[in-house]
Symmetry: D2
Subunit: 306 residues, 4 copies
């Protein structure tokens, strides 16, 4: 099996090369636009702890929205399912109506993996943590086993300087009473979490608990219970890819999460996690090379959760 994973990753690496110049690097904050657009990395870790990789799998990049899964796992570990009184579990439909949907649903974000939902998570984390930013970093370091993981302060500052739409969203949530703390404080945490830098290797390691009933494989520490873990996987499956959740389920068939930094991480429960990185995005905001690499992976393995 091991040699099979290795062979498949190398095949994929070759097969996706023609896509290297397809898509566009995220431009909405200047700091993200500086990346070398032609990088590609992929890292797979099995539940038994074996690693397989190709390309720039140890290079750091901005995980952006992938961080929402960490915020969600941490929140659920702290307050349990009560978080779902303040945020839904339904896919969000097309993004064009995100604000009107929030209005229609009276300030309850459709799910925790859209920006509005993650801001509510941040509001709860501020409530429960002494040093929200430090504690959040510590949590991600623990999941990944890499104590060097940190924020990129320039990216966080760039989001703060140009992310007016996110500020609007936070105040809109506040107008519905679904943000309790100061908006600046909530956004400071939110922008910092988005700015975390990790490698494919780090991401594959840190998501392994979702393939392992909520337990960190290396230490055996239980972060989430079995039921919570299933539920988070279900949320990733339905809501993890913006307006392309259906497409990802349809072509890849695994729960996962993408970020505008070009990262994608996915998992096959009880089997493996896999992370990819390619900065060029398609029109829906997901990595072109990453989407294709993962489609090839489950096709070649002949197995998805469906």
């Amino acid at each position: 099996m091991s040699s099979r994973y290795s062979a498949i990753l190398h095949e994929i690496h070759t097969e996706i090369l023609p896509l290297q110049h397809h898509g566009t690097v995220a431009q909405y904050i200047p700091e993200l636009a500086k990346i070398d657009p032609n990088k590609f990395g992929m890292h797979l870790r099995t539940i038994e702890g074996n690693d397989f990789s190709v390309g720039n799998n140890e290079e750091l990049f901005s995980i952006q929205s992938i961080s929402k899964v960490f915020a969600l796992a941490y929140t659920v570990s702290l307050v349990g399912e009560t978080i779902f009184e303040r945020v839904g579990v339904e896919p969000s439909g097309s993004s064009f109506n995100s604000l009107v949907q929030l209005e229609y649903e009276k300030g309850i974000p459709r799910n925790p993996l859209i920006n509005a939902g993650a801001m509510v998570l941040c509001d709860v984390l501020i409530d429960k943590l002494r040093e929200p930013k430090d504690d959040m970093l510590a949590f991600v370091r623990k999941l990944s086993g890499n104590s060097g993981i940190t924020f990129n302060e320039r990216v966080a500052a760039s989001e703060k300087e140009f992310g007016f739409r996110n500020v609007a969203m936070a105040y809109f949530l506040k107008s519905f009473g679904n943000i309790h703390h100061n908006v600046d404080e909530v956004l400071d945490l939110y922008f910092h979490i988005c700015s975390i830098e990790m490698s494919c290797k780090d991401l594959a390691a840190s998501f392994l608990l979702f393939a392992n009933h909520g337990k960190i494989v290396s230490t055996g520490e239980s972060i989430l219970n079995k039921s919570q873990t299933k539920r988070l996987n279900a949320i990733m499956q339905l809501c993890g890819f913006y307006d392309e959740a259906g497409e990802f389920s349809f072509t890849v068939g695994l729960p996962g999460k993408s970020g505008v930094g070009g990262g994608i991480v996915a998992l096959h429960p009880h089997r493996y996690t896999v992370a990819t990185w390619g900065p060029r995005l398609n029109a829906k905001g997901n990595s072109v090379m990453g989407m294709k690499a993962l489609e090839l992976l489950t096709t070649k393995l002949g197995s998805s959760i469906f």
Copy 2:
């Protein structure tokens, strides 16, 4: 294992009794409102062909939107993935904006399991079949192994008489050029498919191919290939429960489909199919007892696809 399924189904039957009077029977067409609201049936069939059941598992009811899965499977078996040029694979978000979404997306329904999507399927079936209604019935009879399955003409007529919203939707699709045939003809097929009557037992039997790589277990006939089967399961997972797809994935964790007649059918790939029936619906249009019964099932079995 067998005795375990049997024990679990009986436990569930007892545990959901307190919900017997919760929810409301669908009223939007008079014919559906006539049903005895307190019925309940459940039927599970394993991939090995073993049957387990409780309650009114052999009683016929109107399968309504569950029929969209049959229409989709038949369409894919006839024209392959080309159907996805005319209908999407993304969840639809909240129903309040179904028409504006269709407008925004220029007449391409978000997925084949919403009304607009199923109308496009009917348009394709009319194109490809000699006797669309008869052929559709024959297809369902083949999947289920029950040659007695038929339309309820009174229900079909009732839909035609009162379903003005569906007529509006069909003409709206036609205005975008995404219905090629006569609207009356398309709706005649659509309303008839919705009026098919089946029992929980029939449904569990007819969905078994989705748990079996697209092959009918009893005959070995291949209807869909492995990849198509996975894709249909993914669509059911993301789009099978109207505005409650997330909730169903979250609490049950299986792909499936519900109908306003009170039926739900779900499946665990490579393991089993399960159908429930309880006419009283929650505010989102899904059977109250069915939703709870299936949540209890995967909790008690300790396994979902996540």
Copy 3:
């Protein structure tokens, strides 16, 4: 004064010539697309009955949505203000959400001058008239004093054959219970009314009652009372130009109504009516030359209702 009107119309005719090739003829039904796009006519009739004109002022064209004002006047003359229980008096905002707005407002069209509103008027007219189409023609002939006015059956048939969006709208209204008669019958009247052909001279004559407290100037017959007349003028002011009602009020400052056939008719209460015709439309569906001609008119006269 008379010589002044005459001089001003000739000035306008010269000044708008440079716009002759701007804009596009309505294409949505083939029959309308056949018109000579470079025609232009303008006709002004004073409350005293004096006529002033330039260009093709006596040439017939398809009045299209201008007919909604006739339908409204006729309906109010028959059932009074009760019609406003079934249709609102508010501007409709941007057209992109016409269907969602109808849904949000439970089947009550925002005003009688949008398609949905005029369909409700047709439903009422069918209720109150023996021969709705004939009676409607007789009403328009009476207002205009021209007994030769008639439907263009080819245009009506063309609407019926290609106007699927209007059929969708009618069934959507029916689903809310705001159309009582058969949809086909309502649309037959609606499409016929839209197909009426009149000249600028006819339109200026037939709108004179709105500048004259609801009385036909030539015969003294009272069609509407003073209060009803003011209200209809208010509706024209706020709702008469699709998504450009504000622009028309802003630049012209008169109540009026436009149609996709390229006609516009406006009025200055107690003073005059004026009709223009130029088939090329701007992006909002209003005649390019007509809009400019009317702006020049009120600028040169130095008077609008504001």
Copy 4:
């Protein structure tokens, strides 16, 4: 004529008394909720400078959105029609989609009399004025001839503390680049302008220029030219009453503007201005007694602009 105005105002005062307890005082900021709900005042000033009044016509109240007309007049006097490159002139349709509409129209508010539009005005005023708040007050004092008019700092502070929805709107505009200055600075001016306190007498006096070709009657100073004045009146007619602009045009037939403080001011060009105040609002946010009083006024006078 004078005695006629006087008699009519007294009749109106008697006839609207039965409405004294209808409607609800605005609650969305605590400071506004403190008002005595049963007050009523009305003041009419003719173009010749004659005053007629009943009730609490000299009592100060929070003018709220009426202030948007002052901001618009000031802006147009400073930058002319160029302001309409950054804000439209179309009615806004129903309020439920204000945010999605702003998104659809890429950050251009539909008109200057909705909150988003007035924020853009404030952004321009900050650009052009040395001391925006002081200069704005000076402008209103000049129009009204009352040098005692001032902000209510408690109301402004209350808006700032609780008006999260407005903050969201301002950042949303900023994300589209349609606010150039610091959001806090823009909102500080916006909230202050809304907090201006005036009486019915002050409002009738300060709006007289709109009935007088843009000239202050008492001093003869020209603020707007004739064309600009007509255009502002047109905007008030189409956009001055939130979701009830049509209703107001329909029943009253004058251009005007209302505020959630319970004030309404309207004008008949070349004849008179009239202001009413009654704190209880209808469901659309307009004063119950004020709407009725103005309907009675134009009915009794037998004249509106239509």
